[in-house]
Subunit: 380 residues, 3 copies
Amino acid sequence: MAQNDIQLVSSGLSEANSNLPWEIRRWTLTEGHSTGVEVVELKQGDFSFRVLPTRGMGIWDAHVGEQRIGWNSPVKAPVHPAFVNAKTRNGLGWLDGFNELMCRCGLSYFGPPGTDTGMDSPVESDVTLHGKIANLPAHSISFIEGENDEIGLKGIVDESSLFGPQLQLESTITTRLGENSIFVRDRITNLGSSATELSLLYHTNIGPAILGEGSRFSIPAKQVLPNNARSAEDVDTYETYLAPTEGYAEQVYFFETIADADGKTVALLESLDRQTGFSVEFTKEQLPCFTQWKATQPLQDGYVTGLEPGTNFPNFKSFEREQNRILQLAAGETYEIDLKFSVHTNSEEVSKVRERIAAIQGENEKTISTDPELPYCQVK
Amino acid sequence: MAQNDIQLVSSGLSEANSNLPWEIRRWTLTEGHSTGVEVVELKQGDFSFRVLPTRGMGIWDAHVGEQRIGWNSPVKAPVHPAFVNAKTRNGLGWLDGFNELMCRCGLSYFGPPGTDTGMDSPVESDVTLHGKIANLPAHSISFIEGENDEIGLKGIVDESSLFGPQLQLESTITTRLGENSIFVRDRITNLGSSATELSLLYHTNIGPAILGEGSRFSIPAKQVLPNNARSAEDVDTYETYLAPTEGYAEQVYFFETIADADGKTVALLESLDRQTGFSVEFTKEQLPCFTQWKATQPLQDGYVTGLEPGTNFPNFKSFEREQNRILQLAAGETYEIDLKFSVHTNSEEVSKVRERIAAIQGENEKTISTDPELPYCQVK
Amino acid sequence: MAQNDIQLVSSGLSEANSNLPWEIRRWTLTEGHSTGVEVVELKQGDFSFRVLPTRGMGIWDAHVGEQRIGWNSPVKAPVHPAFVNAKTRNGLGWLDGFNELMCRCGLSYFGPPGTDTGMDSPVESDVTLHGKIANLPAHSISFIEGENDEIGLKGIVDESSLFGPQLQLESTITTRLGENSIFVRDRITNLGSSATELSLLYHTNIGPAILGEGSRFSIPAKQVLPNNARSAEDVDTYETYLAPTEGYAEQVYFFETIADADGKTVALLESLDRQTGFSVEFTKEQLPCFTQWKATQPLQDGYVTGLEPGTNFPNFKSFEREQNRILQLAAGETYEIDLKFSVHTNSEEVSKVRERIAAIQGENEKTISTDPELPYCQVK
C-alpha cells in the first residue's frame, strides 16, 4: 500500500527485558480510499500493532512475527472517513469503512440505524449504524516513549456539535515491553453543560488463523442469549465456530458476564489446536454488556468473529434506553474504560486464560436461553 | 493546533499610518477534523483576523492584541468540509462544522431543512440546514498586498451543479491599515443561462468577552418581531443579554431596519461597561432582512449571539418565497453585497456607533410586536 | 488551476512512428473542490488526454493540439469525491461532481435514485444516481511506458462493503503511438463468494466544437426508441443536434445496436462540416445497451451529448432487472469490457467511420419507435 516516508518517532532497548528493542513509527497512506489515513506502529521485539488515529484511534491489526492478528474484510485497506457516508446504504454506510481489529462504535449511539424516538432533538434522533466515532480523526497525538517499560500513544477525538452532545474521547493505547498485549485506556468526558448519553462498544474482530473451524469462545457468564430467532437456531453451539460457510447469516449472542474479585472478566477465542488465542480483558462495571458476533461466512466475504464488550447491547438505541442500559454522563463527568487485548502464542498461555475463565465461572450456574428474552433482547 | 509551516505571503509598513507593520500569512491545519483547512491571517499592528478559504471564505476569528473576537463553539477547531455531512442529524449535519465569527449561509437556500415544494426539480428541492456555501472550498486565491493601504485576499467559491443553480461567489476580504475593521465585498453571479434564486445570510457570531450578562444589542428599526412563541416570551428584552443560562433555548428576533441617507445601517453589540463592542455595517437594500440570534446557553455549550444581515429571513425557504423575499438573479446577473465588521475597543468608539444608530432611528417609531406576525414570521 | 509540481513519469520517442515523442506526466490538483485529485496525462505528439485516478479512473478530457475534446460542465474542475455527497439533492448529489469526457456509472447500479425493491438487503437497496464508482479513488497505479508502442496506466478501484457487493475494477487506459485514440480495457471481478449484480455504463460526453448545431450522430441499429414522452417529441431527428437552446429539456434514446462480424460496433458524432468527429467503438456482447443523451441546453448550462454504451439501459435498476438486463457475475468471475474512443480530425477519417457504420447497418432495417416501448423503456 502506497505511503509516504516512515517517520521513526522513537526507539530504544528495554533493559528490564534483556535489551528488547522497541520502536514507534508513523506514516500516512497515500493511495485509493486510504489517502490521508495516518498510521502509528508500535513494535517491541516480535510483537507489533498499528493504530489509526484518523479512524477514531481504532486498531488496524497486530502482528506476532509474521502472523497477522485481525481479519480480512472485503474492505481491503483503512478507509479515510471522507469516503464513508453514514447515510448511504439506508444508514448502513458505516460498513464501507469497516476492517479493523478493534473499532469503536459510539459515542452517542451504536447499533442499527433508525429514528430514536426517545430523543426530542432532531440533532440527536437520527441514528446511523454504529455511530460516528470510528470516522472521526484524532488530534493532539502524543507518545509514550519507553516510560515504565511502556510504549504507546495518546489521542483525542471530539464528537461534538452545536446543540448536540459534546463527548470527548481521550484514548491512550500502549503495550508493555515483553508482553503481547495492547492496553486501551479510554476516558470519555461530557464537555457539555448538561447530562448526555454515552453508548460505546468495542467491536473487536478476529479472523483466521486464530478463528477457524472448531475454534472456541469462552467467557464467564450467568446467562447467554441469542439476540434473535436466527441466532437461536444455534445457541447450543455458541462456543464453537463453523468453517467458512456459504450462505451463513450472522449470529449474535448476548452475555450477562461474571467478574472476578477485582471486578475483571475476560473473553477468549482459541484455535482448535489450543496453541493460539486472543483474549479481551475488561472491567464488568465499566462494560456490563458483552456481545459475541459470529460471522463465519466464506473467507472472501470476511470470515470473522467479534468479541464486543460494551456499555450496552447492540440493539436499537431506544430499546436499550427503555431497558436502562444507556449511560448518562453528567456535565463534566468522565467515564473510564480500561481494556487489555492479548495475543497468546502457545498452549500454556492459552490454557492460563481458559483456566482463569473456568475459575471465575466457578460454581456459578450458566443459563443458556433458547430464545431471545427481555430485558436483553428485542422480542417481537 | 498542528499545522504545516507558516508561509509569509507579504508584509510591509504603512507610511500613512506611522509605519504600522502589516503581514499576510497562510498555513494549512494538519490534525483531526481540521486536516486540510487552509488559513489566511491578515495582521496590521494589533489587529488581526483569520479567513478560512476552505470553508467558503468564512472568517474564523479576529484578535485585538490578546483579545479574541469570536465565540467558543462546542465544535473546537475549523472543520474540513469532508467531515460535515449535510444529510446527517436529520438535515442538521451543518452544525458539526459551525464555529466561525462569520459564516455564510446560502447561496441557494438557508434556514431549516426540509423539502422545498416550491421547486419542481429534485436537484433543488432538497434543503439542508443553512445550505452549501460554508462547506465549499474557495479557489483562485489572490492577495491585496498593501495597495491603497489595504491588505486582504480574494477567493472564488462555486456552488454549481449540472441541472442545478450555478452561483459563483467572488469574495474580497480586506482591512484598511489603521482600522480595526474587516471589509467583506461579495459579488454573487448567476453563471447559468436562466434566472435562479439567491438566498444568503451572514451568520456573524460573537461570544465573550463582548457578549456577557447585560451586553446590549441595537440596530435602527421600524419593527422588531419574535420569530416564534419561545422568542415572544422575552421580546421586551431583546436588546439585552442574559448571563450563560442553564436550560436556555435559543431566541430569534427579526428586524425591519432603517437605513441612513446613504442606504446604510449598522448593528451593534456592546459590553455592559460600554468599553468594547462589535458592529456590522451594511446596505439595507442589499441585505433587507436582519436577524438577531440569542443563544445564551452555558459557556460550554457555546454562549453566543448572532448578528445576521440577510437577503431574507431564516424561515423555511418556501415560506420566504411566498413572502417574495427570495431574490431572483437573472442569467449573468451579479448581486453585490458589502459589509464592514468592526471591533471597538474603547467607550468613545462604542459611543460613536451607538449615537449613529440613535441618529438613524431619529424620530422613526419602533414597533415591537409581541407575537410572530406575517409576513415576517411563519404563524401557525 | 493550482497544482503541485508536475512529475514526469516517463518519456520517449517512438521509432516506429518517425520518432514521435511521448510523455507520461502526473500531478495533484491543490485548490478548491479539486484539492487532492490526481491527474495522469498521457501525451504523444499532438494528442493527449488526462485520466483521473481519484475519480474512479475517469477521463477528464483529451486534446488534439489546442482543441479540447470534452465539454464545459457547470461544474468547472475535477471534483474530489469528498465534496460529492450521493444522498444530497434527493439522491442526485452525484451531479455535483460530473464534468468528465468519460465517466463510469456503476458498478452495482446506475440510473435514477430510489429504493430497489428487488434487493432484500438494505445494504444494496439504497440506490443513488449513477452509483459509486466515479467517486471512488483508484489504487495500485502503474504505467505502461512505451511497450509495443503503447503508453498508458493501470489502476484498481474497489467497490466493496461488508455484507455488500465486492466488485473490483481493474482499468487499463492506453493510447497507441501515432493514433488519436484511447483504449479502455476494464476487467470487473466479483471478489465475493456468491453471485452479484453488475451494472455499468460509460457516460461519454462531448460538447463544442464537435457538438454544434447540425452535428450528426450515427450508430448501426435495429431499433431506436425514445425513453419517455419528452424524448418521443423529437425521435425523428435523433440523428441531428440543435444549437444551444434555452429551455431545452434533455432527451434520451435507446438503441438496439448491430455489430459487425467481429462483434464490434461504433457510434459516431460528427460536426456539421464533417471535418471533425468523435467515435466510440465497443463489443456489442459486452455492452449490449446503447444510450444517446441529448442535452443541448445553453452553453453556460453544459451543452453536451452523451454516447453511452452500457451493460443495461439507464432506467431504474429494478425495472432493468425485470427485463433481465442486469448482469449476474458469479463468484470469482471477471467481466471484460474493451472500448476505443477516437478523435477524428479530418473529413477522410470521419468518412471512414461513417462508412463503416453504413456498412454494418447494410440491409438491416432500422425501426424508429415513435413512443417508449417495452422491454426497453419504462411505460407508464
